[in-house]
């Protein structure tokens, strides 16, 4: 029947074809299992009889190719690749003796099962969309007189509305909590002002952390305090207010007020 599938964003069927499958980027897939299923379907056999070994090889080739093309490969694809490489070795090398863990065959069967199950659900989803749907192929009465049961007013409210109302209200509550977090950033101006004030007129060297001790005791402020203080101190050095000294990379950073030219005389 026409337009039966109108309510999907896209057709279920189209998946990359054989020839282009190695050329397309990974974004077309919804994760490693989805990609594996697409590859498996290209073996064109009953999924229960699929060669998991061949499948593992195809997957590894695919990932290698994607990486050689410098495509971004998400971590979960790489995790699956590592697991499949392991599975491959387990399948190729017979287990010397029964191990605690499942055998290669058991792992392979489990994978084949998951692929079959996912495929079954895809087909089920498709069958659902092929049904005659209310408001689309089947219709309710256009002018119902209305039947009330017991009450004078039928109150309408759905569970979704209820949950959404609650979530929105609580979210507003949380939003104010989050704004407090914003204050955990030490602005550059504040760091600058603080450095100048604490260093004072002293021209003796002191570790920069010394002036930040109040911030550094609070873990959430440590990074921002250091970053802002460093930027501020660089700015002040450029302006000729301060001097910085560091013995080696990652060694403590020392700071002092730049001695006045005339003070030396």
């Amino acid at each position: 029947m026409n337009g039966k599938r109108d309510f999907f964003e896209e057709e279920l069927a189209p998946r990359p074809g054989d020839e282009d499958i190695l050329l397309i980027d990974i974004d077309g897939f919804e994760g490693p299992l989805d990609l594996l299923l697409a590859l498996a379907r290209h073996q064109k056999v009953d999924l229960t009889k699929i060669s998991v070994l061949a499948l593992a090889e195809q997957y590894l080739t695919f990932i290698d190719k994607a990486r050689s093309l410098h495509l971004q490969v998400a971590a979960d694809y790489l995790v699956m690749a590592a697991w499949l490489a392991y599975l491959k070795s387990r399948l190729l090398l017979p287990d010397p003796e029964p191990l605690e863990e499942p055998s290669g065959e058991e792992l392979a069967a489990r994978l084949a099962f998951r692929l079959t199950r996912l495929q079954a659900m895809r087909e089920a989803a498709e069958k659902l969309t092929e049904r005659e749907r209310l408001g689309h192929d089947v219709f309710a009465r256009g002018m119902p007189e209305g039947v009330a049961l017991g009450q004078a007013t039928a109150w309408q409210a759905g569970l979704y509305d209820l949950l959404a109302a609650y979530a929105a209200r609580r979210a507003r509550h949380f939003a104010s909590t989050i704004q407090m977090k914003k204050r955990t950033v030490i602005p550059l101006a504040e760091a600058r002002e603080r450095l100048m004030r604490l260093i004072g007129p002293s021209s003796s060297w002191a570790p920069i952390d010394h002036f930040l001790s109040e911030y550094l005791v609070r873990p959430e402020l440590r990074a921002t305090a250091r970053a802002s203080a460093l930027s501020a101190s660089l700015e002040l050095v450029r302006e000729g207010e301060l001097e910085l000294m560091q013995a080696a990379s990652f060694a403590p950073l020392y700071v002092r007020r730049k001695p006045k030219e005339d003070a030396r005389a």
Binding site: R141, V147, A148, A157, A165, Y166, A171, A175
Partner: protein, 220 residues
């Protein structure tokens, strides 16, 4: 064994059609009239049916078939519609009820009562951040989804509110614990804010119920 529908082929001028065609045409008319959002004139009906069909005899046949049913096919002016049989109007009388949507504040208050029951009015206001108008609680009490539960054992002994069995039935929940928690709301995509630490396990579904003196058992 009662005759449910008395099919009278009153009109003999349709005999040129096969019984199957005629039957299909009757079914088509039935479906069109049923789904229509207003009474349809014969011209309108004809425009929706295959061409060259005489509508009038079909309508009369349907009218006769439904004459003894709970629903009748009735002309009003030159338009036709299915209507409840006049003698059964009493079934609908109390039904001329309006359908009302719960207002946003009412929905929010209902949600807070559901999640935090037993909860006092002051506590509801604390979560909502605004005072609750008298009307909001009244509306919720009217829905039958909310009931006074008891009194909190605290100064002033404020009234506590909770939800009813009808609430669960209406929202398709088997128990109040089936409401998704904050983390689950977030996981489902309903809550976009970050949940501050310490709130994950929330909501706690109420203050310790022991801190409450139950009212006399309500009906239901």
């Amino acid at each position: 064994m009662p005759d449910l529908f008395v099919a009278t082929a009153a009109s003999s001028n349709v005999t040129s059609l096969s019984p199957e065609d005629r039957r299909l045409h009757l079914r088509m008319l039935e479906a069109i009239l049923f789904a229509a959002t207003q009474p349809l004139t014969e011209a309108e009906l004809a425009s929706k049916m295959p061409e060259g069909i005489e509508i009038k005899p079909l309508l009369q046949e349907l009218q006769t078939a439904y004459a003894s049913r709970g629903v009748n096919l009735r002309p009003s002016g030159d338009a036709w519609a299915f209507r409840t049989a006049p003698d059964l109007g009493f079934l609908l009388e109390e039904h001329r009820q309006e359908e009302k949507k719960l207002s946003r504040p009412a929905l929010e208050t209902l949600a807070i009562i559901a999640y935090h029951q037993p909860v006092t009015r002051a506590e509801i206001e604390e979560v909502r951040g605004v005072s609750t108008s008298k009307g909001t609680l009244d509306v919720l009490l009217e829905t039958g989804w909310v009931r006074p539960r008891g009194r909190r054992r605290s100064p002033g002994r404020p009234l506590t509110f909770g939800t009813t069995r009808e609430f669960l039935d209406h929202f398709g929940l088997s128990e109040i614990g089936d409401l998704p928690g904050l983390a689950e709301l977030k996981a489902a995509g309903l809550l976009s804010a970050t949940i501050p630490p310490g709130f994950e396990g929330q909501p706690p579904f109420g203050v310790d119920a022991a801190e409450e003196d139950l009212l006399e058992r309500e009906t239901s």
